[in-house]
């Protein structure tokens, strides 16, 4: 019984930490609809700035509180600067495009933090009062955890007061419901957004600095925090602060007991919970269906088949790829192969996101199933390469069909988050079923018999795969799919079965990604859990958004540009900052993506 009590309290303490970070994210999300990938980075900055401030202050509670508030204020300022300098310029860009910008910010901030504070973990020395404990049910319970347990509801109450009792709060809530209406009221929307972003960033910083007494400021915080914060926001319901707290409590307490009851499941528990909640309550615990935002419609542009200009460019590109073995060395060949795989991977995501209207944060799941499918077929059943390459997309397609059956009814960020949850579950299976998958050591030794000849296999399959996808997108099926995305009720009234079309597109997209994964496995001779990681899913998203979501040329150009950039910059110091800076520049100058920009030049 006493264990039950202390473990519940421990869960509530971590719930408060989770809530602080998630609250900022949900406020930003709800009002500006920006999927802020940099939120974890702001939290990390909070930890480092907090360390720098608190180690210079007297070590008593009053000064500590002051230092914490100063840190929150500092990150709020950084958040405001980010909003004014970057995000404000791209609110009119297609949905999720801001995500690309914030991803660039993640990269820049990661290197900036490394440069400013160095590579070492920076622990905040704990003064005696932070080490104190109280006896609860016969066990020692950290005093600071009790403080945290109180801070969560206090911040929640404070936010609710601000949002319901101040004019600013009422306007923000109105903006959450309907941006355009608030604009029509004559409120300076820009100021509103900047202040919301600053508030969110300040909360992230608060979360970062309040985590310091339990650990250290370190360079892994950004990525460790961001996925969990997303999960809480989505489980709680987009833009719902109360929902975020509820979700934080649910997940915090579940995790506290999970470490005891299911110690081996620490990697998946959170995502299984998220999947279950979203399947039962698609809009989260306290969320409601907000429908499509009005700005989405503006993002829809006419999709045209390739003109002579594009066909020429594609022809030149294909000729270059065909001649690559004569033109470049092994490194160039490796990059060329990666570009080809990335093209098919990005094109498959484009089918889902573009014509299908189903954004995905977990597309690497299908890539990984294809990669592992081929690798395991080859290794355990001695399947010859052609059969393994054929089997992989079938496996990935079947998996996509099974998962899609549950989730294609959802839309927007909720659907994207469910794909993420599923991808994390696949990832955890790859990591934890060591007997089958080799765990994080991966499946090794899956090389093609003739590596040089394999390049042409990859070329044929990737280009062929993209052409097949293209053909299907210009078939009656593809048009019906797009009709369902453009005007769902109109399409249904014309007798189009939207759900079935979306499911078919989901399956097709999964199968194509699976083929890309299988080709990748043979080109690298191995399959690893990193193929299924969140960052690989993000890579695909970046490629599609970078190229432009309006046409199939987008993901292809995006794949070439991103892979090329990444591979070229990886050899340099501070490559993350450079890559991030390039992405931010591209976002600012090509808000419709590279292909979208070329399209408008025509």
């Amino acid at each position: 019984m006493s264990f039950f009590l202390t473990q519940t309290l421990t869960g509530l303490a971590s719930a408060s930490s989770l809530f602080l970070v998630a609250a900022g994210l949900t406020v930003i999300f709800g009002v500006t609809r920006v999927v802020n990938f940099a939120h974890g980075s702001l939290c990390m900055l909070g930890a480092f700035i907090g360390w720098s401030i608190l180690t210079r202050l007297p070590r008593d509670p009053a000064w500590f509180a002051l230092g914490v508030l100063a840190t929150a204020a500092a990150t709020a300022l950084i958040g405001a600067a980010l909003e004014i300098g970057l995000l404000r310029r791209i609110y009119r860009a297609p949905e999720l495009f801001q995500l690309l910008a914030t991803f660039g910010v993640v990269l820049v901030l990661a290197d900036a933090t490394l440069w400013l504070w160095g590579p070492n973990d920076l622990p905040l020395p704990r003064p005696p009062w932070l080490r104190q404990f109280v006896m609860i049910a016969g066990s020692r319970f950290p005093l600071f955890d009790l403080v945290l347990i109180a801070i969560g509801p206090l911040v929640l109450g404070g936010l609710l007061l601000v949002f319901h009792r101040t004019r600013w709060g009422v306007l923000v809530r109105a903006a959450t419901q309907d941006r355009d209406m608030v604009a029509a009221l004559g409120v300076d929307q820009r100021l509103l957004f900047t202040s919301v972003f600053a508030l969110g960033a300040g909360l992230a910083g608060l979360g970062g600095v309040l985590a310091l007494p339990a650990g250290s400021a370190n360079l892994q915080i950004d990525l460790a925090v961001i996925t969990e914060a997303f999960v809480i926001v989505v489980v709680g319901g987009l833009g719902s602060i109360g929902g975020a707290y509820l979700a934080a409590v649910l997940i915090g307490v579940l995790q506290a007991f999970g470490v005891v009851v299911l110690p081996g499941a620490t990697l998946v528990l959170v995502f299984v919970v998220m999947a279950v909640v979203l399947v039962v309550r698609p809009y989260g615990l306290l969320g409601r269906d907000r429908g499509q935002s009005r700005t989405d419609a503006e993002a829809v542009i006419l999709q045209r088949p390739a003109g002579p200009w594009q066909i020429t460019a594609a022809g030149i590109g294909l000729a270059l790829f065909l001649a690559a073995p004569l033109l470049v060395g092994p490194f160039g060949m490796a990059i060329a192969t990666e570009m080809l795989v990335a093209m098919l991977f990005a094109a498959s995501l484009h089918v889902m996101m573009g014509p299908g209207g189903m954004p995905s944060f977990g597309h690497a799941a299908w890539f990984g199933i294809g990669a592992y499918g081929a690798a395991l077929l080859a290794q355990n059943l001695a399947t010859p390469m052609p059969l393994a390459l054929a089997g992989a997309p079938i496996l990935a397609g079947l998996a996509a069909f099974a998962v899609g059956a549950f989730i294609v009814r959802l839309s927007g960020v909720y659907l994207a988050m469910l794909t993420l949850a599923f991808a994390q579950i696949v990832w955890a299976v790859a990591v934890q079923f060591v007997g089958l998958t080799g765990g994080d050591n991966g499946v090794l030794g899956v090389w093609p018999a003739d590596p040089r000849g394999f390049y042409y296999v990859a070329l044929a399959l990737c280009v062929g795969g993209v052409l097949v996808l293209r053909r299907i997108m210009f078939s009656p099926f593809g048009f019906a799919l797009r009709a369902g995305r453009d005007a769902p009720a109109r399409a249904a009234a014309s007798g189009i079965d939207m759900t079935a079309h979306r499911l078919a597109a989901f399956t097709l997209s999964g199968a194509a990604a699976g083929l890309a994964g299988a080709i990748f496995t043979y080109s690298k001779g191995s399959a690893f859990p990193t193929y299924i990681s969140v960052s690989h899913s993000v890579d695909a998203l970046i490629m599609v958004l970078l190229g432009g979501i309006g046409s199939l040329a987008g993901p292809i150009i995006g794949a070439i540009a991103y892979t090329g950039l990444f591979d070229l910059l990886l050899a340099s110091d501070f490559w993350r900052a450079r890559l991030g800076a390039v992405i931010i520049a591209l976002v600012l100058f090509f808000p419709a993506g590279l292909a979208g920009w070329a399209e408008r030049r025509r």
Binding site: Q7, G11, P119, Q220, V259, V260, D440, T530
Partner: protein, 402 residues
């Protein structure tokens, strides 16, 4: 803050200079080592490690190089992804024409490069990756490894752990291959040494995301006599803090792998635990000439104390130089055989590349943690040679593929 930035810039300067591709090379040109590591993913290890190998290269070249040729290191960042490491390995071999590959920190990256080396018949000298598979289950003639593996780390601690006489054990270790392998070996080896020992709870926090309070409470709940810990880095800091406040470690024996390494001990600050049995590197109290010489040279060059990563980087280059010198050429097949049996000096003392399984006999220090002047340190330490922490040759032969 200033210190680390300067270190970084120095390393940058050295790195850019080295990375410039050679236009033409004669037989007297430098021996090129293609080095790949997870620089951006784990900077707390890799930056001291880069200093270590930079120093070794400078020292060797100052004394005339190897076979009359200078050493040149071409360094690449794999960002922690095995797939990128494989591409970079291809670039280093194919475009830069390096003579051999070296490096890596994460086990899966090490295995990926090793598999690539086997496929392309190139020598790979792994520095840090701890997985047993690198030289055993997935071992092959083109792969050598420096660091003591998870088996060896567990084995080094087992005598002292068995002396505790503790009956009820709990384990906590990160939920991936390194952590699983450590716990597996520790359990097997301890049960052999001390029949009747009980493991009453196993906790597997996610790497980099430990729920420290809940983990500590769960361990406490199992009422153990002793704790075996495999967490490190930020997770370890959180674990130790939560354990200190909640009194988990009071009156209990703790065996903790890697905790004595400066990388992981320093961040614990004045909360560093006392009396834990750990593997590590007592950089502030070693007295032998080899270590002191290395530390002095390192301090002179980088103006800071070396970390364990620095030793690994330095010894890796020394081992490569010795292997090439013994072989007398940089031809891959010759090196694959020639490295076997090569002896080299490291800050930790003499080390041999075993011909049997291509594992180096590079050992580790084991000792107790203590708190001195508000900082963690290692006391009562002794160096255990890697050769003494390996299974019999027959067992090893069974583990390696034919």
């Amino acid at each position: 803050m200033t210190l680390s930035r300067r270190t970084l810039l120095t390393a940058t300067a050295g790195f850019t200079g080295l990375a410039a591709p050679a236009i033409s090379r004669a037989q007297t040109a430098a021996i090129r080592i293609g080095e790949i590591n997870s620089y951006t993913a784990v900077p707390s290890f890799t930056l001291p490690y880069r200093n270590g190998w930079t120093l070794a290269v400078e020292q060797i070249n100052a004394s005339g190089g190897v076979l009359g040729r200078k050493l040149e290191v071409l360094s690449r960042d794999d960002a922690g992804k095995p797939q990128d490491a494989i591409r970079l390995a291809g670039e280093l071999i194919g475009d830069q024409k390096v003579d051999l590959l070296a490096g890596s920190y994460l086990s899966n990256v090490g295995l990926a490069i090793s598999d690539f080396a086997l496929q392309n018949k190139t020598l790979f000298v792994g520095g840090e990756p701890l997985t047993d598979a690198l030289v055993w289950q997935k071992g092959h003639r083109y792969c050598y490894r420096l660091r003591a593996s998870t088996y060896m780390q567990a084995r080094m601690l087992i005598d002292d752990a068995a002396k505790f006489g503790a009956k009820r054990w709990v384990t906590v270790s990160p939920n991936y291959e390194y952590g699983q392998s450590l716990v597996k070996w520790f359990k097997i080896l301890l049960a052999q040494r001390q029949p009747g020992v009980e493991f009453v709870a196993e906790l597997w926090p996610a790497l980099g995301n430990i729920d420290a309070g809940a983990t500590v409470a769960a361990l406490e709940q199992a009422k153990p006599d002793a704790i075996f810990n495999g967490t490190f880095g930020p997770d370890l800091t959180k674990f130790v803090r939560a354990g200190n406040t909640r009194g988990l470690f009071e009156g209990r024996k703790v065996v903790s792998v890697l905790t004595g390494e400066p990388e992981y001990l320093e961040p614990l600050g004045d909360e560093a635990p006392a009396g834990w049995l750990v593997t590590g590197y007592p950089v502030d109290s070693v007295t032998d000439a080899a270590n002191l010489g290395f530390i002095a040279a390192y301090k002179a060059r980088f103006n800071e104390l070396p970390k364990l990563g620095s030793v690994v980087g330095h010894a890796m280059i020394a081992g490569i130089a010795a292997g090439i010198a013994k072989t007398g050429s940089v031809e891959t097949e010759a090196m694959a055989d020639g490295f076997g049996g090569a002896k080299f000096a490291t800050p930790f003392g003499p080390v041999t590349w075993r011909a049997l399984d291509h594992q180096a006999t590079f050992g580790a220090f084991i000792g107790r943690t203590a708190l001195k002047n508000g900082r963690g340190t290692m006391v009562d330490w002794r160096y255990i040679d890697g050769a003494d922490a390996l299974p019999s040759d027959e067992e090893v032969k069974k583990l390696r593929p034919a």
